[in-house]
Each structure stands twice: as C-alpha cells, then as structure tokens.
C-alpha cells in the first residue's frame, strides 16, 4: 500500500511536469503544424536562467520563474520570426531537421556558456521539506508541480475557450486562410501562441528541474518524451495532453519503481500500442 501511494504521488508530480512542458508543444503542433523538436531546448533554457538567477544572483524563486519565462520568450521570439515562420506548412522531415539543428546548436551553446555540469535551482524554504498530507508525506516541490500543472491546465482552458484571443486562435487552427480573410492577424496569433508555448516550456523546465535535472543534453534526452506525450494525447488537445502526460508518467514511474532493470522498455511498448490503435492520439481530431 505504501509503495502504491508513493508511486502514485511520484507519478502524479512527474506527469504534471510532463504536461506543463508538453502542452506548449501540443499548442504549436496543433496550431502551426510544426514538429518542434527544439521545445525541450526551450525548457532547458528556462531551467538555466532560473538556476543562474537563484544561484549566482541570489534572486528569490518567484522572480527567477518570471525571469526564466520572460527570458526564454525573449530568446524564442526572434527564432520564430526568422526561422520557424519559414517552415510553417513544410513537410515534417524539413521541420524535424531544422528544429533538430536548432536543438543541437542550443546544446552546444549551453555547454559553452554554462558548462557541462548539472545545474540546480535553489528552492525557497517552503518548497524544500516534506509536507504531511495526513495519510502520507510528500516532497513539497512535487506538490508545487502538481498545483502549477492544474493552474496551467485551467488557465489555458480559459484562454482558449473563453477569451477573444482564444477565438482567434481556434479560428486560425481550423482554417488559417479563412481566418485571415475574416481579419484575424494570423501572423500575430502564431507569434503570440509560439511565445506562450515557449513560456510554458520554460515554466515546466523550472518547476520540473528536481525531476528532470538541467544539463546540456536535457534538450535531447527528454525531447522524445515530450514528443511522445503530444503524439499520444493528440496535437492541440489540452485534455489529451493531460491524460497522456499522466498516463505515460504513471507507466514510466511504475516501471522505474518495480522493474528498474527493464529501463524504458514498457514505456515505449505502451507508446507503440497506443499510437498503433489511435494514430491521431487519444483525443486528437482525425484528419
């Protein structure tokens, strides 16, 4: 019983971190139809900025999160303007190659600037210790990750379903040309969504830094995991990404607890099974 509960708690926290990072990728894939393999690299940049802000500059955690999100957006927006905008609508292979190129370049630069060692983010005292939930104690930063995940899911749902921007976003997803003809500035919508997605990646990178440690190869190690979450959930679906992140987080955590010698074997087996049965993802729209 104890084991089941600790697996469940870890799986929930891990799944939420996966969700926060992957939902941004899901938005860019659903909206711009860009297979953005550099998404993990943006999460890594966020982690690096937060680490630098807390460790070198001694800024408080909250400010560090803000700096990470804004700083990563600042780096990503010119990339969108000059690189990504050219590959909207291009074949998947082209997109994969260019975004892998961007990932490689970011890894190399990150190593050059920050060094090859693991970077930690100083947590505030409130998030360090364990929290007693009555039946079980759980690390505070994991609870924090779960809370942030729930807030992100709610906020995104609100933005997409209930605001004028969300209306334009959905219109551009359904038919970019028609939305443009009706006066929606699709280029701005794309740029804002891209910035939003990258900001979420950075947020996830910071919040999840305890579970997915920040180092130069972060961008490559976890890229596959994020891509898998989006593909399993269905590109562009918030609920799909949430379900997929929690499901795959549970598979991965359970595997790690109970059968560590099999590594990620069952994770990928589950992925193959799900994608074969649901080629458009669990909640994706059929093309």
């Amino acid at each position: 019983m104890q084991t089941i509960l600790s697996i469940a708690a870890d799986a929930l926290a891990y799944g939420m971190v996966l969700f926060i990072i992957s939902i941004g990728l899901s938005v860019t894939m659903g909206l711009m139809k860009v297979v953005n393999l550099a998404h993990g690299a943006f999460a890594m940049i966020g982690g690096y900025i937060a680490s630098y802000a807390t460790q070198q500059m001694g800024l408080p955690f909250g400010v560090a999160i803000l700096a990470a999100v804004l700083g990563t957006m600042l780096i990503a927006v010119p990339l969108e303007r000059f690189l990504y905008r050219r590959i909207y609508g291009a074949p998947e292979l082209t997109q994969v190659l260019m975004t892998i190129g961007i990932t490689f370049a970011i890894i190399g630069i990150a190593n050059f600037v920050m060094g090859p060692t693991l970077k930690t983010i100083a947590l505030p005292a409130q998030l360090q210790g364990p929290v007693d939930l009555g039946f079980r104690t759980i690390a505070a930063h994991k609870l924090f990750a779960v809370a942030v995940g729930i807030i992100v899911a709610g906020a995104l749902w609100f933005i997409i379903e209930r605001t004028p921007f969300g209306v334009r976003l959905r219109a551009s997803v359904d038919d970019a040309a028609m939305a443009g003809a009706l006066g929606v500035k699709t280029k701005i919508v794309y740029a804002v969504s891209f910035a939003l997605a990258v900001g979420l990646a950075a947020l996830g990178g910071v919040v999840g830094a305890q579970l997915l440690p920040i180092e130069p190869y972060y961008a490559l190690h976890y890229m596959v995991t994020f891509l898998v979450v989006v593909s399993v959930g269905g590109a562009g679906s918030i609920a799909g990404a949430l379900v997929a992140a929690l499901l795959l987080g549970a598979v991965q955590t359970t595997g790690r607890y109970l059968m560590p010698e099999y590594g990620e074997f069952f994770f990928y087996l589950a992925v193959i099974a799900i994608v074969c049965v649901f080629p458009n993802g669990l909640m994706g729209r059929s093309k």
């Binding site: 260019m98 370049a105 989006v230």
Partner: protein, 331 residues
Amino acid sequence: MSDISLTSTKPVWQRTAMRDLIAVLILAAVAALGYLLFPSNLALLTRIIAVMLLVLSLDLVTGYSGVATLGHATVFGAGAYAAGIFAAKFGVTDPLLMLAIGALAGAIAGALSSLIILRGHGLSQLVLSIAVVSLAHEAANKLSAWTGGSDGLSGIAPAPLLGLFRFDLFGRTAFIMAVVLLIAVFVVLRIIVRSPFGMLCRGIKQDPIRVRAMGAPVYFTLVKMYAIAGAVAGLGGALSAIATKVVGLDSLSFTMSAEALVMLVLGGTGKLYGAMIGTLVFVWFEDRVSAINPFHWLTIVGVLLVIVVLFAPKGLTGAAETLWTRLRRQS
C-alpha cells in the same frame, strides 16, 4: 536521370550502364585515393563506409519512398548484433557469412519494424519510429547475456577473408572488403531504384492515394522496400562488427538514427551519391572537429542543418548541381 535527352541515338540501357560504370570507377578511385593519402586512418574510412550503408538504406525509405523515420538505426543495430552474436557465441567467424547474417537480420528487422512504423503518418510515424528504436535499444540493454549490455558485445574474432587475408592491425583487409561491398551494394541499388519496383516506390512518395487507385499495393510495396533497406543497413552493421570487433549499444540508438538523417539531408535525399557524399562529409568533419571539442561540433552541425534546410533544401549535391547547370548555361 532527369536530363536524358530524347535526341540521343543510343538506347537508354546503354547510357545508364555507361553512367553506372563511370560511377563505379569514381567510387573505386576515391577509395584508392583515401587508401593512399590516409593509410593511418583506414579504420575511420571503414567506419565511414559502414555508416554510408546505413544512410543509403535510409535514403531508400525516406528519399525514395517518403517514409519519415527517426529510428533507422534499428536495422543497422540488428545487423551488427546478429553478426556479432553469431561470431562471438556460435563461432560463425567467416566474414562473408557474417555479412550474410547481418543482411538477413537487417531485412527481417526492417520488415518487422515497418509493420509498426507504416501504421502512422506524419507525427505519429515519427514517434512510432523513435519508439521502435528505443524499444530495441532497451531490449539489447536488458538481454546483456547475449549482447553484453552497456559494456558492448566483444569477443568477435573474424576469420581470414576467403581463408586468405587476415584482418590486420591497420585495417587494410577490412577497408578493401568494405570498398568492394559498397560498390556491389551501389550497383545493386542503382538497378533497384530504376526498376519498376523502384519507380512504384517513388510514385508512393509523391501520391500514395493515386498509386492505390492505380491498383498497386502501397503498404506491401513499402514493407518490401523496408526489407531491402534493412538488408543494406544490416550489411553496414555487420561490416562495422567485423571491422571494429565490438558492437556497442550506440549502434541501436536514437542519436545514431538522427545523425543518419542529418547526413542524408546534408548530402541530398533521393540520390544514392547524395547519401554517400553526405556521410563522407559529416563523419570526416565530425572526427576532426570533435577531437577538439565535441560541443563545438554539435553547434556547427546545428547551424549547418538550419542553413541547409533554409538555403539548400536539396543538400550539398543538389546545390552543386544547381550551380553546375547555371555555369553551363552561362558559358
């Protein structure tokens, strides 16, 4: 192939045979030049040829048949491990037999993995291909009694080639065997991509729905192409097992698959010589630059990729061809 003019009097097969002969001669000349200029780097040159076979194989499925895959190292690793296991555990040390085992294992792995990968399209296809190579990687890691796990499979001692030529310390025998193998594969692939079957694959790349409407089987054709490509990559894997005498887990990795794709696009997709030139350039520079600093290499590859995608989508060979036709038109 596109510039076959209708005014020429010679029959088509004669001209293509002539071109193949010239291509083979160029290949042999380049190999001889490499042998003479870099006698101390023959191991690297052999590795380049092994990777070329992988990239040629990837070209068959991606460049000719339009299947996007980030997991093509599966077939390379299958060939390498099959040849290695048969040599280390069952005493099958004849190098030609090892190559045959590698090709067979690669073909089987290719056909099996294609059954999964071809179920998806676009994003799901990419994810499936990644999942397949990761699954194979984890399985090889787990079955360490057979594969040596993360330590790699060692104890491969190939017998002399044809019973005459020992695999020497400098890798001369391995290199010459590799060159002969590459030329043989190149000629066979030239015939295959020009055959009606090869044309059908190109048709599927351009428009699978129309091909199906014509009455040709799309799925089965691609599975067949995958098996052929698997055999080619399996040969490459077996070659690397023979030449290096070890098989590591990295031969079954996602990184290897991604790098193979990078090499293919760098050289130019849908052309056999594009795959070979891309590999040569990539591995050669990788060896030079990463000796200084592996991370600088990563940055350079990244920037290079972005530049190729934006400015030379047909790869180095495509850019060279464009330049060539422009120069010819001016003169």
